[in-house]
Symmetry: C2
Subunit: 437 residues, 2 copies
């Protein structure tokens, strides 16, 4: 094992670094990150990839130690009475450890965005202007109990040339620390500074507050977790945030939809995985086809155990549908529950989405090209789809490789946030003595 940076070495101890204030701890991490970011911005692609490969190897080699750390986290979580879904997110298995290692290798295989020419043009005076991708600088990632985010986020930030400060959930502190050690080993083997990937070495919640005030040191904060975390970060942060809100996604079945296609898309959009942010939470269907199409669309969903909350017109079609409250339209169930509203045509559907949606991902099912165009044009969401499942809202499915999340913000990054979205740019201008008239 290679020597670790002091900021991560504290993690070798069973607890956390106790000696400093959270502000002092974070300031030290910030200084190391900024210095590392300068070195990393110029690092060769091969060097970054070597670090990722070595980190993957370290994760495989240290799997027993990671599982042991995870067992300590799990025991503590059960003692504190954590429930099923939270325990499931926290738990690591051999398969999940292998997936983390392979994830790092997949990131290594992605194109390096840094240095890519985004645009190039020549001015009449002969100046050649190029817009080149550069790293963003220092990224702060704040996440909850999934320890694998440590490897995913660390790897993505590294590939894009950014230093990263990782702040995992306190439940997964031991597991995340064990994983971060593997990343540190990867950096060391590639002779990259340890400040490239650092984990906050304390469970103290004040460290999060300190991170959110580090404007000028951290360039962007990426929160990954539930609504509570996102709202705290958005409310408190003095650093720009890539908001990864969960999604209240809609599928709209237009009057001109093919009923078989609608059935398959709605089923997939709701049931393929109910817990992901691209899962459809509300089904909208045109009134003129509700009677004809709903039975076919609902049958496989009922069969799979899906529960429905509908408006009066929907309930008139099928009495098994429970009444929806106003709150249902705004709820992200992340479960086998689907809200269902009968609408009066496309503009009614768009208005419903505008009112209750979260600007994440919405789909229309229709064979009418003009209707599709109107929907795709007018719905103000990061991702809009025609005749496809909302569960395609995913960086991997977009061909962008791994993603750190889906942004519902409108600035800089929108939709899947992969390595390319973790970059900035600069203008490089070449002349031969031009002076401005």
């Amino acid at each position: 094992m290679t020597t670790l940076h002091p900021a991560t070495r504290a993690a070798d101890a069973p607890g956390e670094a106790p000696s400093e204030t959270p502000e002092a701890t974070m300031a030290a991490l910030g200084r190391a990150a900024r210095e590392a970011a300068r070195a990393l911005a110029r690092a060769e692609t091969a060097t970054k990839n070597a670090a990722l490969a070595a980190a993957a190897a370290a994760i495989r080699a240290r799997a027993p130690a990671i599982l042991e750390a995870n067992a300590r986290d799990l025991a503590a979580a059960r003692t504190r009475g954590l429930k099923g879904a939270l325990i499931d997110r926290l738990e690591l298995t051999d398969a999940r450890i292998e997936a983390m290692a392979r994830g790092l290798e997949d990131i290594a295989a992605l194109d390096d965005p840094v240095g890519a020419v985004m645009a190039e043009w020549t001015r009449p005076n002969g100046l050649v202007i190029r817009r080149l991708r550069t790293p963003l600088g220092v990224i702060g990632v704040i996440y909850e109990s999934r320890p694998n985010v440590t490897a995913d986020a660390g790897g993505l930030c590294l590939k894009a040339g950014n230093a990263v400060i990782l702040r995992g959930g306190s439940e997964s502190f031991q597991s995340s620390t064990a994983i971060a050690e593997c990343l540190s080993e990867g950096l060391a083997r590639a002779c990259l500074p340890p400040g490239c990937i650092q984990m906050v070495p304390t469970r103290d919640r004040a460290a999060v507050g300190a991170m959110l005030r580090m404007a000028g040191v951290i360039d962007v904060i990426v929160p990954r977790g539930g609504r509570g975390l996102i709202e705290r970060v958005n409310a408190e942060s003095r650093v720009p945030v890539f908001s990864h809100l969960d999604g209240n996604c809609h599928t709209y079945v237009h009057a001109a939809a093919d009923v078989g296609m609608a059935r398959d898309i709605v089923f997939n959009a709701k049931m393929r995985r109910t817990g992901i942010c691209g899962a459809t939470e509300t089904l909208l269907i045109d009134a003129e086809v509700a009677d004809a199409m709903l039975p076919a669309i609902l049958a496989p969903l009922f069969e799979a155990g899906c529960e429905f909350r509908g408006d009066a017109r929907a309930r008139a079609v099928d009495p098994r549908i429970r009444p929806a409250s106003e709150e249902d339209w705004a709820t992200e169930y992340l479960d086998s529950i689907l809200a269902l509203r009968v609408v009066d045509g496309i503009d009614d559907a768009i208005a419903h989405i505008e009112r209750y949606g979260s600007h994440h991902t919405e789909a229309i099912v229709t064979a009418d090209e003009a209707a599709a165009r109107r929907f795709l044009d007018r719905v103000d969401s990061a991702i809009v789809l025609h005749n496809a499942s909302t569960q395609y809202a995913d960086g991997g499915e977009f061909g962008m490789g791994a993603e750190i999340g889906i942004s519902t913000g409108r600035l800089h990054a929108r939709g899947p946030v992969g390595v390319e979205q973790l970059t900035s740019f600069k203008y490089v201008v070449r002349g031969d003595g031009q002076v401005r008239p």
Copy 2:
């Protein structure tokens, strides 16, 4: 004259709207802006251009009224003892009014960024993914005494499909209001909602605080003004900010520079206009050529009345150079003053820029391609130039048309902020029934 929106009609009175709290006033503007933004996002290019042309015509037609409003502002400013440069910025003339009108026509002539396909690819499963430019939404522009910003910023935001809330300096309140009325007339003639361009109808400084808290209503704040304004906005804003800090720009004369080219570029970079953000404030020159090159480089600058603040090695070359303090390296003079440091090669120059610069614009003069590449690669500024004047830091000079400023931030917009930088994007996905495995 067409009917104006209540929010701007208040401006017809000599003072401001007195009846509501600033928060209530701003909330009403915000609601109108969001609604207008929805309409504007779908507006045809021809409609937006018609509004811009009609606004330009209104500015020409109402020039006497604008000059009269400006005379009232000027009289009040002189009574309060405002100084030369401030008065100059505030003052409108026939030529400046014509320039405003022409500026709007120039914006109309720009390509419409909205709807442009930024990227398009097809996935193996047949999904066609397109990344399309969309407006950002609602932009808040906070500026100081230059009344022409009203027309420039209003026109740029409109062209990019954004609603804008303009908050001008209190000194230019009457002038800006008269100009905003012309923009409103343009909107009305093109049948666009008045909420597309609104001016804050009060001088109350609390309105700025209210704007900065309108997260979710205003999508981005663009401050234009001096350091005090920018710092207040950055410190207080809960809304993302495109920071338009002024620039502490550097020109570095490398040992392999052509002395005649260095002389011309340095003279232009400092003296063409000393008051713009792309003006060079510090000259760095390699020690091995300082004796040989500095006399030729400094001669025309001294002749033009430029004053120098230099380190000991520079002063050894020319005794007319005053001693520089530590503060000089970080100062943006915006005047005929140039800081001058003799450095020990390219890495020393880069380190100086990293330490004291503002990440705006820096230039290297050299005939050595490897040195140029090293400088362009390693200097972390929005714009880096080789063998050209830093005064090219300008959206117009980049061929981007009018700009709302130069951003020194790293997120979303960096460098000149023109119509394209005032947009967001969304992903439009076309399928034929795909469901995710």
